[in-house]
Subunit: 226 residues, 2 copies
DNA sequence: CCAAAAGTGTTCCGTCTACACCCATGG
DNA sequence: CCATGGGTGTAGACGGAACACTTTTGG
């Protein structure tokens, strides 16, 4: 079905990481300013080239843990980007991956080391090459799956309040939700479990902390929060 | 953000086409038997290598029109597949694309020319390399979007009966639908328009033919048929 | 005692589901 | 005249949306 290998021109292949975080009621992405040409000074995703002996997934994992120092993170491929002029230097196609991390686990000193910052998704700057398109598609995927898969817990600490969870949903979906209806739905999800712990940092009264239980989550049951 | 180009090893990049068709109440895919090694004799998708001066999308379009003789077809990227051992010969990553075609427009003589056949998605044979995974993901995407985007009309002739439309939905979703409820929903979709034409080939009484009107379709209105 | 966030139920309305019979026609 | 697929309506169940007040406590 395919031509023989001879005369086929190989192409450079890279991966780009879209790292989502949630802090201060806002959804954010790790972005840096390119330190080299082409595109020096432009805001950009963090990426790297795929090595001959590693799969795309492995390359993405390596690049992500290089940046964050974390491993076993949630990752998902967004798509391949292959316009001929997407890299002004050479012909490079890039495969975008998105991951969700808990900002508390992300060491701030790495931010300076890698020259990256958390940027609000609401007001993104102009981005290098097609990175804006990658982010837009990642947001789309996130929105489409957040209500049916238990993804959001990757963005939260192990223990979280219902108010936190709700504002996370609001940040991702870009709309306000009704508190009572939201909490009613949470009650119907067995994998979201109330603990005896109380968080007193955000209110005088204090709010109960909840946790997500992987074991309580039944794979084929629908996980619908909106 | 990225290493310099020097010392980066380029990789072969191909595209694979998942061509869906609908005939005789069944959803089908165009598959061929590989005529060359690696993998000679195994069922496989039709694909081709990406050329240096063409984008991924262009490569997919070229490959698809090579196979079908048709152009301006609906196409959508499914994802990039990059396990190191996915091609037994060389390191090749492949980007899968799915397209939806109307089997009536597909010239049967091309089937023999390219050695491909329409195979029911219900009972797919074992496939070469990761092509099975590609098809599974394409089916997933199709199922997830068929109820909110007007995709199905790409699989039907310009004029179609409601029974045809319903059995197409049933084939894609893999479940039976209630005739009266289905038709009730259709009535609520302004872009699906009844014509005066009647199809008498499938019943003595005859069935009214409908058409999908692109101009009657409002982009941001939800297109929900299930 | 008051500001600020946490927590809690009910009603209404629209949507989805289940369900069975008559129609038109060619052979 | 009968076999075959085409076409139609209603009632009841269910789930989603709207909506406002009380509780707790640190300062």
């Amino acid at each position: 079905m395919e031509q023989f290998y001879e005369d086929i021109q190989p192409i450079l292949v890279s991966v780009d990481c879209i790292v989502f975080g949630f802090d201060n009621k806002k959804l954010k992405i790790l972005l840096g300013k390119r330190k080299m040409n082409p595109g020096e000074g432009k805001w950009s995703l963090y990426g790297g080239f795929v090595r001959p002996n590693e799969s795309l997934d492995m390359a993405a994992e390596r690049t992500l843990s290089e940046l964050t120092g974390l491993s076993n993170l949630y990752m998902r491929q967004i798509g391949a980007y292959g316009d001929t002029d997407r890299d002004p230097g050479k012909r490079v196609i890039s495969v975008a991956y998105c991951s969700l991390i808990n900002v508390c686990e992300y060491d701030e000193s790495r931010q300076k080391e890698y020259g990256v910052e958390w940027v609000n998704v609401e007001n993104l700057p102009e981005l290098y090459s097609d990175h804006g398109k990658m982010i837009a598609q990642a947001l789309d995927v996130l929105r489409n799956h957040i209500t049916t898969e238990p993804l959001c817990f990757n963005l939260l600490p192990e223990l979280f309040t219902l108010t936190q969870l709700q504002s996370l949903y609001e940040a991702i979906l870009g709309e306000e939700l009704d508190k009572r209806n939201f909490r009613k739905r949470i009650k119907g999800v067995p994998s979201i479990q109330k603990t005896d712990n109380v968080d007193k940092t955000t209110s005088r009264r204090g709010a109960y902390l909840y946790r997500f239980s992987k074991s309580g989550f039944i794979k084929d049951s629908r996980f619908v929060l909106k």
